[in-house]
Symmetry: C2
Subunit: 381 residues, 2 copies
Amino acid sequence: MQDNLKNLANIDTPAAIVSLQRMQQNIARMQQRADALGVRFRPHVKTTKCADVVAAQLDAGAAGITVSTLKEADQFFGHGVTDILYAVGMAAHRLAHALDLRRRGCALQILTDSVEGARAIAEYGRAHGHAFEVLIEIDTDGHRSGIKPGEDLLLDVGRVLHEGGMRLAGVLTHAGSSYELHTPQALAALAEQERAGCVQAAERLRAAGLPCPIVSVGSTPTALEAASLEGVTELRAGVYVFFDLVMRNVGVCSTEDIALSVLTTVIGHQTDKGWAIVDAGWMAMSRDRGTGKQQRDYGYGQVCTVDGVPIEGYLLSAANQEHGILSREGTADADIVARFPVGTRLRILPNHACATGAQFPAYEALAADGTVQTWERFHGW
Amino acid sequence: MQDNLKNLANIDTPAAIVSLQRMQQNIARMQQRADALGVRFRPHVKTTKCADVVAAQLDAGAAGITVSTLKEADQFFGHGVTDILYAVGMAAHRLAHALDLRRRGCALQILTDSVEGARAIAEYGRAHGHAFEVLIEIDTDGHRSGIKPGEDLLLDVGRVLHEGGMRLAGVLTHAGSSYELHTPQALAALAEQERAGCVQAAERLRAAGLPCPIVSVGSTPTALEAASLEGVTELRAGVYVFFDLVMRNVGVCSTEDIALSVLTTVIGHQTDKGWAIVDAGWMAMSRDRGTGKQQRDYGYGQVCTVDGVPIEGYLLSAANQEHGILSREGTADADIVARFPVGTRLRILPNHACATGAQFPAYEALAADGTVQTWERFHGW
């Protein structure tokens, strides 16, 4: 079989299908947001870990990338991306790896939110005659890491870095609690809180005589609902490139925007229960049940035709490792065998695109003409 | 750094650590069970997808392996394993792949539970002059696929295969609902139901003049609690090789038997909340929250010292992609920074070893002398 003859009817299942049309629309939408808000856009590539997707993001105007592991930095640097922000607090044992990347020409920026972390960076940098470029992580919504904008710790960390000879590059925050909201008003308010807190932190550093050129904010929901990014220089977002059912419930995309789905085959039935058994279990969908806490619970995913049209009321209701149980919500479908005979191909929209994608060694990129092309993604640390 | 100098202090984090001592104990325990019950043991390798682990299982006396994907069959056949049972209902589009494996010398057995499935196998086999070796899947606990032992469908499927020229190899069942139980009495009762149902199906086939040499049953909990396997020829189990917190809650292992853990590094704190932030998020642990429905909820995992000793009351309470939030149950630990300073290495016992292992490209096998050796595992379909 020649590569250019691959399509949704002849590739093996399960497979992670990316609708190129939807992906390109999602990329254009976010880039337009960043452009309209007057900030650089630095996509978070942890969602896809795929050079082809990232090339599309950069082609659309993205300025550099955000990564969650140094393996992502290694891989994308290998693909020619040099402007890379590692947006997880720097562990001392990874400084040698970071230095190696920088010495090979990667403009890697690193992150810290503690005096101990800042000291470790400064000491390692001085010992190796190198000025790391460091951002301070700011906590604007209490959901994870970072220093609150008003804490004295902010200036302490800034001084340790600056006086220790490092390049204090700026401040960074991520309002990850936006995933728990579901109205435009609440998202806009959180976006403003994220912006204001991060700008406040930058101004405090500058008032103390410390440099702070970069003010970096973002999450997919706040990026899409922010009214203003005054004082911000850079926006980050990740999952927007594919979207998913969690984002649909948050209210920042529609089901028709979701670019990632899992192609699956019906392999059996339990007629009396109204179940079709498919070959997409949790190994394919991931164990992510993010919609379970939202106003609309999709189980392990929304069932669609092979052409991607949602089949209202049919969900992947349960999952074992390589078996998914497909059923109708509410009452059992007595016609399940006739509706979805053995061998039927279906597509399942996932709860969480980052988690589902990570289960696959590659995406199958689906073009408008129905052909698919394999796009590798990487795995591990 | 030479490979033989790797240990838990110098490898990068997160990493999937396998305690060789515990793994060997778990392997020996299950093999002894099968030997005592007078049946062959065919481990399910979907848990580990790792040739080194499977070699240890075969060395201990296992007779062949069980797989959940044809990729597993390909990989282990490539490692010299020829006796392979593919224990997921056969999809017609995979018959060419199965035939190729068999023609290359792999004694691959396949599975079906429908007349349509049996017909597809028989037609493809006849068209290619090949007699596939086929088991019929039996449903003994209503949790997933299979034909109920008393259904007429059982004989219909048997006849389609046998009269269609295929080798009707036997019957197979998996009492996966055992994961929902937690007393020895309930597990022993389910094990007996699993045994009796599968033997009944075999006897019905034989009474109808159909061959049924193999009677294959098993799940880790029922395998360990079965009082008798009379009439059964073969036992299967997977997760027993590592065990996990779900199995600890089911009651078939202790915390001290769990052979898989995730090595992680403390990268920050939120002092006022009593949080330590670690570099094992859901990408490392998986999104599996299997203990969330059990009598003891471990969040995303039980925190242990780097030496593997559980630290009572400390859990990975939440997880983002590359961040884990470690906290004390109940009241916040005001001394979290002093207890777990930045840079501290810890190990996290997982909810579900199959799901956590799948997040890693390799295991780090920890020997009694503290050295670790990298064991590759594979990924995808």
